[in-house]
Symmetry: C2
Subunit: 393 residues, 2 copies
């Protein structure tokens, strides 16, 4: 196995009504003024935003507000937020929402505490050296941004979607109340479940060194996500299932499920980022629309892991050879996506792309990855195009 660093300093407050403890958490970390950062509709409609404001008001915590974060959060709002925080002497950000709001908060936090253009960090020109302290109240289990070191921002001037990773942006605290996810639509819930599953799959399908305890945790997490995601299709208000998914969401992206692995994969995510940057599709749906094309294209180069996955995650037993077992595992994932009512190709995602569109996607993906991606199989621009094409059949 490979050497690794594990660093997850975020304090997680998990369970029913934990958002009521928000004032103490903010006060604990010291603040002058808080930026209350959120999205568009759901936190307003659900009444959550009003409840949080009431708690802040009652506790005498000063704050200013910036709403309007969109899915695939935009650089333009980030820049607005940076100016707004500086003008208002903000020194703590409270993100109320999902991964988009948290990622937007991270980018604002970078911009306030580092000189120069925040865009540089997402264009890989410089690395941030600080971030404002951030806490969150999570309203969708999906991206895992609440415990991760990453944020992904879309530059709305040139339609590029890029990530920046650093430990400075790791949240001080994350409030995870599964009840808050009950107002989500079925599609939103399913997108989140599939994104969570993918965060571990991207770490699992690798060539090179691995670690037994990491595999055991990853397989256990994937089984738990699959089982409870299906429960939520039938009974969306099942608190226990929402809680399992929510905690899996954080664990799936806080590094735990990839420790000791020499090189994780992330091809499906990179291929998807180009889709959502260009066509603004929902990230989780973009992932499921691409995954099977990726899997069928690469599995022969990563056969032992696909076999292990099929057996240990789906319990597939077969008298056939490894290839048969691997393909049954891939088919089981596709069946799962279908049960979740998720798209399994680009047409089902609602896109009608020409060959020229696909060529452009592959080219953009290749540029953003310096020419190649992947661990299960190293993919160059030609491979990327093949995967996009197969997803478009």
């Amino acid at each position: 196995m490979e050497n690794f660093i594990y660093y997850t300093p975020t304090e997680v407050l998990f369970g029913k009504d934990r958002e009521n403890e928000i004032a103490n958490e903010i006060i604990k970390f010291g603040y002058k003024k808080v930026l209350l950062h959120y999205g568009q509709n759901s936190v307003i409609k659900s009444g959550l935003l009003t409840r949080i404001k009431n708690i802040l008001d009652t506790s005498g915590i000063k704050y200013v507000e910036l709403g309007g974060v969109l899915p695939n959060p935009r650089l333009s709002l980030v820049n607005k937020g940076i100016r707004f925080c500086k003008e208002n002497d903000v020194n703590f950000i409270l993100a109320v929402g999902g991964g988009s709001v948290i990622d937007s908060a991270k980018a604002i936090g970078y911009g306030v505490t580092n000189d120069g253009d925040v865009r540089d960090f997402y264009d890989f020109k410089r690395k941030p050296k600080a971030c404002l302290p951030i806490g969150c109240i999570l309203t969708i289990a999906a991206t895992g941004s609440e415990m991760s070191n990453s944020s992904v921002i879309t530059n709305d001037k040139n339609n590029t979607k890029r990530g920046c990773n650093s430990n400075y942006c790791r949240l001080k605290f994350a409030i995870l109340d599964p009840k808050l996810t009950m107002t989500l639509t079925q599609f939103e819930t399913s997108c989140g479940c599939c994104d969570i599953l993918m965060h571990t799959m991207e770490r699992y399908f690798v060539n090179g060194e691995t670690m037994e305890i990491t595999d055991a945790i990853a397989e256990g997490l994937m089984r738990t996500v699959i089982k409870n995601s299906k429960t939520l299709v039938k009974t969306p208000l099942n608190y226990e299932a929402r809680a399992e998914i929510m905690w899996c969401g954080s664990l799936s992206h806080n590094d735990l499920t990839g420790l000791g692995v020499s090189k994780t994969d992330w091809s499906t995510h990179k291929l998807e980022h180009e889709l959502s940057a260009k066509y603004d599709v929902t990230h989780g749906a973009g992932l499921t629309a691409l995954w099977s094309s990726w899997a069928k294209y690469v599995y022969k180069d990563c056969l032992p892991r696909f076999v292990k996955f099929a057996k240990n995650v789906f319990g597939i037993e077969s008298n056939g050879g490894d290839e048969e077992v691997a393909l049954k595992g891939i088919a089981a994932v596709i069946d799962f996506f279908k049960i979740m009512n998720m798209p399994v190709n680009l047409h089902e995602l609602g896109l009608n792309l020409t060959n020229r569109d696909l060529i452009e996607l592959a080219k953009n993906c290749s540029v953003s990855c310096n020419g190649s991606i992947g661990s299960a199989k190293t993919l160059n621009e030609t491979d990327m195009l093949e995967i996009y094409k197969n997803a478009n059949k």
Copy 2:
């Protein structure tokens, strides 16, 4: 499932030769003077202490030394360390050793930063409100103290062994190099492996609420520990197996394997603390000597968990009833302890106790636990005595 807080801020640097990075880690956290805290023989004989001193000297890091920590670390040395740190203006502790050294460092850290007698925190009279920053270089995988909020100190004046839990003592960093555990004896290694297994078992055998993802992680961890512990009996220098055990050691006691559980058990640990406080036995060996008596005494009150354990950890399949499956699971653990050459009763532990001795142990245990312990089955003093007696047959 129950609400929970998960907070593991310790930065873990895991893998070969990571101790060479010690200077940067200490400098990162700021220091005036470091207390280099260690045990008796092994870190000196292995040459590790000399290597660390060379690194500190070369980096210009000022330090003072306090060695001599014994297994079941003593309050007398803790008090000496507190005075020594104050005299020398120490503001960072580097623990080089195992759980005893780390626990001793935590107690010293409390004593330096809080007024009054540090003993109060271990007699449950007061709670600490601060701790010196601590880092460690771990030399045995066992107690999990490197990522836990707990420390256990033996008062050598009255032979009581008591724990103190608080987030203040959580380490700033933990350097985990599996190679450093290769100089351990087989007995030391086996004691560590069994302690690690027990840290998850104490969280697993419970009545009340549980969580699927927690169970999946716990079961995966127990399978991994059992498999790799057996590997180390045959091939003690197997790096991969030592690495699996070492990382499992940290995960087993950083709360991850008990999240969402309403009330964890800890009976075997509490019963053992009385043994090691009075007779100075090795903690891991004390645990294996008591566990089967505990398990056979309580399993009927916690049957679903014992059945789940037997099936998911040992793969036991049976056409018999739940009780048969549960007993097969218990037998499998006993077999495992035997393969590890660990004692499975008090005689094999080297003790010859009279009925009066057992009565005293049960009484002390009951006092230290305010009358009762346990989740699998709530045990009072009479129950504790029965378990000690069964272990003494």
